[in-house]
Amino acid sequence: MAHDGEYQGASRLRSLPMSPARFSTSNPVRFQQIDRANLLPFVEWAMDRAWEAVTLRKPQATTLHLPSLEVSLLTDNEHYQQIVGDRLCHHASGAQKNGITVAVLSREDSEMPLPPVWGESIYHPREIEKQLSDTPFRATYFHDDGLWQIYDVHQRFGLQWMSGKFRHPPWEAGAPLRVFLHWAYQTLGHRLVHAGSLGKGGRGILLVGKGGSGKSGTVVGGISCGLRSVGDDYVLVQMNENRPTAYPLFQTLKQDLKGLQRLELEHLLGPTRHANWQNKYELKSEDIGQPLADRLAIGAIVIPHITGGPKSSFHPLSRSHAMLALAPSSLMQLPAERDSGVRFFSNLIRSVPCFQLNVGTDPHEISDTISALMERRYQCS
């Protein structure tokens, strides 16, 4: 992560083709409560206000180098800056990348007022998605913290509007900016996928399934036994001529105390152990073994299944089962772009073979089984 001395985020914003009518003077419209009837004018107004706020205040700009994407983060929220610096992966810049700008603002650190709340009507994410689908905007609201996340796909400008500098969903700390990355990568034809990953020699597998199915435990155990990963919860997947490649976005891996004890990794927690909102502990790949890989060419989709038996084994799985293990949680946990997501996940599932991994109890034996699967797969291909 590079901290820019000069305000490059603003120069990027100035270079964007913004309408003077949209981004000029304060709009007098006030929004106390939002519902579907005033959603679109509110979103436009909020983006106007955000533009004014970053223009007036010139918050600190930080450039984040991600796969195929460069993010200019504009915020004076030191808490959020630290989260981003700790959690997001840094990819060496070089190849020309697409750029987006995200302003993280609250009344405490900007000219923004308190964000308005959602009104009395039922908040239904799919209805919000459909209502905004013909506009440049994507938006989501998190009720508990009064948080709005809004993105303009044309301007490539995002606003995270917080009611206080610590007021964000707890999962945001493990995967900051994830919603904006989801929206930005979608426009590039890539996708955040709810999956773990393991690999060797640049090739690997995606581990998919519901929370608690054993994805993270298998990933952490695999890394401790010499395999590589690009993430245990969400990874970026690009499809190039029906060949999927996975990239890391978030550095942290998660595991509960029982899992760490089973893997004999409890000592990594140190004396100041602190569990996250899921009562899991965050680790980095380099704490366990090697750092995250830069990328993995994906050769198989694997659904882990904890059997309690001593031996691990694979057996082929139908693509329909794999689709149902992969797509619903990936589609429903990230707002909007669900129709395009179904197409993407269908292509991904059709591009590689699918297996069920019956997970044994010995991490070395599990890792050897995964390695054997990958080697067979690649010898056959």
């Binding site: 799919r126 707890p170 519901k210 929370g211 329909s320 794999a322 689709m323 797509a327 946990q333």
Partner: protein, 148 residues
Amino acid sequence: MLELRGSYRFASPDIIHEVFDGECVILNLASGTYYALSVSASRLIESLLQGTAIENLATLHGPAYQCDDVEAFFEKLVTLGLIMPTSTLESPGHAISDTLRLKSKSWPDRPTIEVFDDLADLILADPIHDTDEAVGWPTMANTKERAA
């Protein structure tokens, strides 16, 4: 005796399906509910969505299933709110092709649909939390317990 008549389609644009190696999965993008269909059920719904009249499809049977199974399957689709009629008097739905009738004899299983609604609460909850932690991120285990 099946009381449904004519041609049918999915009840909403939010309901989409994909077929993988002959097996159909259905996702309701609004509710978060998703469905796995057996092989014969996949063939039946594909034929239904192509305009074959539902009462004609309900005459199919083979060694692995009976007409009653087909009727029960279509009634389940209606009960689940997955399909709705589209036919008119002028367009009552197609007859069954000889090819389909022949192939239906070798369908390997009964037409069944498996329903998964573990994510539905995640979608319908307002706000998006208070659902089972086992579902995973971004469901919230307990708002009061989380760190400030």
